[in-house]
Amino acid sequence: MTALLEVRNLRVEFPSRRGTLLALDDISFSIQAGEILGVVGESGAGKSLTGAAIIGLLEPPGRIAGGQILLQGQRIDNLPYEQMRAIRGRRIGAIFQDPLTSLNPLYTVGRQLVETIQTHLKVGAEEARQRALKLLQETGIPAPEARLDQYPHQFSGGMRQRVVIALALAAEPQLIVADEPTTALDVSIQAQIIRLLRGLCKDHGAAMMLVTHDMGVIAETCDQVAVLYAGRVVEIGPVSDVIHSPSHPYTRGLMGSIPAMDEDREELLQIDGAMPRLNAIPAGCAFNPRCPQVLPRCTQQRPELMPAGATRAACWLVPQSAQTPV
């Protein structure tokens, strides 16, 4: 079965006056229809860039320098601007972090929804309004008829994010790229939005790529998760396996440093040092200066993603530990 979205060996670079910086280095993953993939990593790891590259909204001078992005088997990374624009609204929907800036403050919510629907779905104004109403209902906004004619500033933060989700779903896209959709929201609203996103994706049969730094959100929403470090995928696999039995030392350190709600620990596991800057990525495995189990090979040769139990990890320790479950 062809994957809905396939990313092969994606490379994104930023030419700057101090040389070319490689922000994404050989990223590969795929998402099936109806599946939710989480892309997690710390700041500077390149997860937002991955989302931007897929939607085609890389800010210049950033550019795709290699690899392919295929949507239902068709390449979309090398399309001219107009074609990409048509795809962007119709087949790929986007949800960004800040609902305040994602909506145009000068137009009513109804107008923005109807405009999006009419642009991509070629229906009449009346039918577009009906669809917009239905979308608002689906996203859990009470009294949608009245709300259609209100302006974004009249909605609260959580409500606004629901409108943004409705907008993303308006053209019935096959893929939704969500970049930190719940980070700006309160904890109690976060829970509602996460549940909504997951439900809607399953109902509409859309695939979703969820970019976030919050492992808790990933645990609740995603089927698969890819862990990024310094622009590379270090581990990818089903979500419960990556969280409960990670193979890559970075993933293990990450999981260990997250304080747990249900247990008391005297000290959190900490990974010493910091993620390397783009202009100072070490040779071999990017994590080797901080790795507690570093081998000499790690400083010379960069590891590829290799099967490690139920996940795949880019780590030279893996062939040995694949036999002994973590």
């Binding site: 808790g216 645990a219 999981m255 709600m261 010493d272």
Partner: protein, 347 residues
């Protein structure tokens, strides 16, 4: 208001003063957010006030950590600023080591008192002056309170402080933009420790940091608390972090305290419906399959708070009394909680 007796956790060293280090009584802060005078007259609009903090009372024993949690708009940042003196309370009092921090203490005493409490801010990028060297940033409190007489002793002391938070003494010659977020937050901590305070107010110190960096900073803070006997007021919206650092936890909603309990108690047997809702809403990385009640509604507009108990529109246990009468914080079943349902045994 019933007398509030603090119950210090058993894990503390037995020999400690009976009086808590920080005592807050009926603290209130109201902001006037009315439209300008001309607008009010022309459009006949009433004056508008936000009761950011509405009658807060708690105390913190020496050497322990009290965490204040709540969502946006609950007033916890305002509490932090009230405690260190950035805002003046509209009503109520703050006592530090038995002395009041308002006008009743002389200016000189107040200054000495302020030296003993410091603050760590949330944003590692805005809390350090981008044009100052780290030496001057950390050295400012030392210079201000005359703790170092000349440059060499200042440099030595700043070097010591930097090393105590895991940085190098040579870093004092650099500028903030040369450091990462986690390192800047450590510089903030070093600055806060310069005057050897006893009490630190930490306003979401790790919210802007990545998870692995957060772990480093939290570990440093705990280590410093143990080695120097510090007392913390830790403000956060992240319940998992609070679980890790706090001894006691206070839950705030729309400017009021709804529950204050020992950490174990709060996380295993929360009493107030809002606390339960919060705990249920946190995304669970370990997916323990805990039964969850669905979350309803959103935080109301602080300009127009609900009558009676502020939580009643979202509360599954709300009744007529909740709409009319505001519940007081009272000692029930070993914790302090402000809820009619709990008081009546309806939960």
């Amino acid at each position: 208001m019933p007398e509030v007796t603090p119950s210090p956790p058993a894990s503390l060293v037995p020999a400690k003063p009976a009086r808590p280090l920080v005592e807050v009584k009926d603290l209130c802060k109201t902001f006037d957010v009315s439209a300008p005078w001309l607008n009010r007259v022309v459009e006949r609009r009433p004056r508008q006030f936000v009761h950011a903090v509405d009658g807060l009372s708690f105390s913190i024993p020496k050497g322990s950590t009290l965490a204040l949690v709540g969502e946006s708009g609950c007033g916890k940042s305002t509490v932090a600023r009230l405690l260190v003196g950035l805002y003046a309370p509209t009503r109520g009092s703050v006592h530090f080591d038995g002395q009041a921090t308002d006008g009743s203490t002389s200016a000189a005493n107040l200054r000495a008192l302020r030296r003993r409490m410091q603050m760590i801010f949330q944003d590692p990028f805005a809390s350090l002056n981008p044009r100052w060297k780290v030496l001057d940033i950390i050295g400012e409190p030392l210079r201000e309170h005359g703790l170092c007489q000349d440059l060499p002793s200042l440099q030595a002391r700043v070097g010591e402080l930097l090393e105590s938070v895991g940085l190098a003494a040579a870093d004092s010659e650099k500028f903030p933009h040369q450091f990462s977020g986690g390192q800047r937050q450590r510089i903030s901590i070093a600055r806060a420790l310069a005057t050897e305070p006893e009490f630190l107010v930490c306003d979401e110190p790790t919210s802007a940091l990545d998870v692995s960096v957060q772990a480093q900073v939290l570990n440093i803070m705990k280590a410093l608390q143990r080695s120097r006997g510090l007392t913390y007021l830790f403000i956060s919206h992240n319940l998992a972090v609070v679980r890790h650092v706090a001894d006691r936890v206070g839950v705030m909603y729309l400017g009021r305290l709804v529950e204050v309990a020992d950490k174990q108690q709060l996380f295993s047997r929360p009493l107030h419906p809002y606390t339960r809702m919060l705990l249920d809403a946190v995304p669970d990385i370990h997916m323990t399959g805990r039964a969850r009640t669905p979350v309803q509604g959103e935080v109301p507009n602080p300009l127009n708070p609900p009558s009676g108990c502020a939580f009643h529109p979202r509360c599954p246990l709300a009744q007529a009394r909740c709409r009319q009468e505001r519940p007081n914080l009272m000692q029930l079943r070993g914790v302090e909680v402000a809820c009619h349902a709990v008081e009546e045994g309806r939960d």
